[in-house]
Symmetry: C2
Subunit: 552 residues, 2 copies
């Protein structure tokens, strides 16, 4: 039963090395290139996606009491895919029945081998996944490929590697010899990894695979059975994932229902029933803070891991590369129209301006520098579409409208191509003064950013950190020239539980979180109670049970 | 700041090796001998204990709004020690103020060095602690020395070693180099361990140090500030612990209030206020399932680790050493009068009897064999006192009375020495038939055991496992001769989350849980949601926060 483990052991070993060393590494190429994925991969992936449209999504042997599916692409197309659906009671029963037996008794190597094979097959289908992610989330194609495909697979592999490291910390047997005078008590002891039970993974609309794979693969590798609950607007990427997982499980002689799809649609939601079900042992949740709070309060005895919302900040104190800074921030604000959980919302700038390589810049100069950089970045509509993608939820457009009244509009949000069916919006930039406004202290999800006048860079750091402590934050960025400022910011944001990026001006952005190196979310502020993927994220998904007897 | 780390690094390294290999090891000698602890250690320890009696317990700089203290030894003596006390609000404020600054910023090595020094000093005071534990819990002296002293210190060290292993899994810095065509993006990254905040440790009456040290030291080593909440009948052992910890912290330049005592007494309880306090981030609890359920339900966002109650079972199927089996079980039932969380309550015996080295034994033969072994073990009053100790709570005597009506009394519970002031009771043995009784399916804490007639050994295993799944269990024992029976029991008890001991007949008992080798409680049934001391027990007590910038 270790054939798949043997096949993928090199990948696993390298992943564990990367986790320990935190250097760059990925086994899944992020370039959507025919040279890597095969010359016909792009066309094949599109064809596979198109074949899904307007058809039932078949999962052989899956509970089916009714069908659901109302996905509409933010690019305009109705997907018209019908998914098998069942009540939470049926799903939890089927999951509990599939789990606990063979799967719980399998060795860590057997389970890890299967998880790595699932990831390898998902990798081969990255172009199909790219289309599925693009047309459920609104991500631009290149991003949908990367974030929905290889980068999500990286995060899944990271979770499997962490889980394997934790499962194998205790040996499967040992001899225990306690001296007693001239003699000894000698015991043989045997340990086994036991799963917790049924694990529910609740996906979000914007990153259905990237945010779900860590919990899914951590729970599967540690022997639990999985119910994947997609956001009703982003079912297809996770349905494909479930399909691949079930195929591999069945090939290896395990029940397909170890991985179930819990699809629902507005008016027939089942998430609350799943969360409250007493047989659910583990819940992974990505989504709003409001519903996240409900999940945490209503999950009963289940272990809950959340990534919720936050308010990410940039503090601009000084820079040696004003143009590079403005371009970098402009890209961070524009990428996927600010719909990344890591995207900045607040840009704190001293009221008296900052020192730069281009001389002193006033608050107004900095704000205008940012606006101009965004305008420049998005001046070509094709390029703008390739950066901004589309808006996942109509509610985001309403938020943009409301935000216009929160301060002085420095840059209008506009559709990228008014003639297109796509729901698009470029960044809205609003200036406020921290002495007069609290609008920026709440999350305004989407392409909405505030340039906020503060007393000093220290004032900006303190305000950004306090917002993180109160409303959550996943990322922070700082532009500064003095080491003392950088060190003070590193200390302050560490206390607020926010990962900080300093002086980004080139081709790397505060939004980016690299698997095997960057932990995503710290778990130390309201943006989430868990971290992708630290030991705490995996170690509580299983238990270690012993039997012992006097040694022969 | 690594002087103490350097001093104790050998101990730490050896502890980490033991955790990985799970062999026998302990740095703290368990024999209460003058040869080990110094010729005057025993007398000095008793004198130190006696000097505590009828005096205020001084903790310099500790919050003091009023005093409490109503401890009465189960051996008869009123301790009359007055402890400093304060409201939960005061304590949490003082704890939060002491934590977060220097302590959070200290390196793992600094904190771990201090924890190891505290443990070394506690070890040197093991005789004082033995008297304190004996006269608050009712444990016999030898057990109070071992369980309250060296074995508790072992469990503390185990937690520190696990915490150090987890804190150092991520490097403090790394260079991340991502190839980009002919060039590369190169980032320097810095990680630091950040604590969760205020950690409350709620102790129990019977094992105040052994059950509290894992949570206390795991939280302290990972940078949290600690509030130690003793059971109102067993304050002294934890007050001494707090005193030692504060002394070492102050010597090393840290605030004494990083470790606070939250003493209370009946009518002025503060545990519920502490549990509900929104600033409390971590709670460790040992005690009843009823209050444990309340703690889990009311702890808000705090991470909660519990050891609650359970019903431990022995299944007797066959034996090659009937006399050894009866003697072994007799000792397990008698030790500390069944007041260990690992003590067996239920002994399942096939209605048709069992095969033994002494030929076929009927159900009645087995039951009488156990009764005779207990009578023999406790025939000498001095030896009986040294094994049974005293009864911690008067409520236990009431439970014994009630249990007499639950079946056929095979052996009466009696005081060991009616003339003594000590509250004592030898084991009550009651026979029931599983077909007719459910009395044995609930916990009857204390020296109360049921011999239960069942159909077969398999029936006994299944019933014992189901009781564990429903009511919790920490230990199980099996006597069997066939490998198939042993394997089936190992599988079944693993699913029920119970550690199983097979065919114990010599000088090791099902009650015993050895640090560095045996995990205590699995976390997989209602006897507790955590395990001493696995990675899950420590990894969630801290967070990892990063800052990064382009490499120079």
């Amino acid at each position: 039963m270790t054939r798949l483990f043997d096949r993928h052991q090199g990948t696993l070993d390298r992943a564990m090395k990367a986790l320990a060393e935190r250097d760059f590494w990925s086994p899944y190429p992020e370039v959507p290139s025919g040279k890597v994925y095969g010359e016909t991969a792009k066309a094949d992936g599109l064809a596979a996606f198109n074949a899904r449209i307007s058809t039932p999504f078949i999962l052989k042997g899956h509970p089916l009491e009714y069908t659901v599916g109302n996905e509409v692409s933010p690019y305009g197309q109705a997907l018209l895919v019908d998914y098998p659906a069942a009540s939470s009671t049926t799903l939890v029963s089927a999951s509990a029945e599939a789990g606990g037996g063979l799967w719980a008794a399998a060795t860590p190597e057997t389970r890890v081998g299967i998880c790595l094979e699932i990831l390898a097959r998902l990798n081969a289908r990255s172009f199909e996944m790219a289309n599925a992610v693009m047309h459920t989330t609104g991500q631009p194609f290149a991003m949908a490929f990367q974030a929905g495909g290889p980068h999500a697979q990286d995060r899944g592999l990271e979770a499997v590697a962490q889980a394997y490291a934790e499962m194998t910390r205790t040996p499967s047997s040992a001899i225990w010899r306690k001296p007693q005078g001239n003699s000894a008590i000698v015991m043989e002891k045997h340990w086994r990894v036991m799963p917790r039970g049924v694990s529910v993974v609740i996906g979000c609309n914007t990153f259905p695979t990237w945010n779900s794979y860590p919990g899914l693969f951590a729970s599967l590798a540690t022997g639990n059975s999985i119910i994947v609950k997609p956001h009703p607007n982003a079912i297809l990427p996770l349905a494909i994932t479930v399909e691949v997982a079930r195929t591999v499980l069945v090939e290896e002689g395990f029940p397909a229902n170890l991985v179930l799809l819990a699809a629902d649609e507005p008016g027939r939601e089942i998430t609350q029933d799943l969360v409250r079900h007493p047989s659910v042992a583990i819940i992974d949740y990505t989504g709003s803070s409001q519903f996240g709070g409900w999940v945490r309060a209503n999950a009963g005895a289940a272990q809950v891991y959340t990534e919720e919302a936050g308010v990410n900040s940039i503090v601009v104190g000084a820079t040696d590369d004003f143009a590079g800074m403005c371009a970098n921030i402009a890209f961070s604000l524009s990428l996927y129209s600010g719909q990344m959980c890591t995207a900045p919302q607040n840009i704190f700038v001293p009221r008296g301006g900052i020192r730069t390589d281009e001389g002193q810049k006033s608050f107004h100069d900095v704000a205008q520098g940012l606006v101009a950089a965004i305008d420049r970045l998005l001046s070509d509509p094709d390029r703008a579409a390739g950066i901004c993608g589309a808006i996942a939820s109509p509610a985001t457009l309403e938020r943009i409208s409301a935000a216009r009244n929160m301060g002085t509009v420095l840059r209008e949000s506009m559709p990228i191509d008014a003639a297109s069916d796509a729901r698009t919006a470029t960044p809205l930039i609003v200036a406020v003064d921290a002495a007069e406004s609290v609008a920026h202290e709440s999350e305004q999800f989407g392409p909405i950013a505030f340039v906020i006048a503060v007393d000093t860079v220290d004032d900006g750091i303190e305000r950004a950190a306090r917002i993180a402590e109160k409303a959550g934050a996943i990322t922070a960025a700082l532009y500064a020239r003095e080491d003392a400022v950088i060190e003070a910011a590193a200390d302050r944001f560490a206390r607020a539980g926010v990962n900080l990026s300093v002086n980004l001006t080139g081709g790397i952005y505060v939004n980016q979180s690299a698997a095997f190196s960057d932990f995503h979310v710290t778990g130390l502020n309201p943006a989430g109670n868990a971290s992708l993927t630290d030991a705490a994220f995996v170690a509580n998904r299983f238990r270690t049970v012993m039997w012992r007897r006097p040694a022969a």
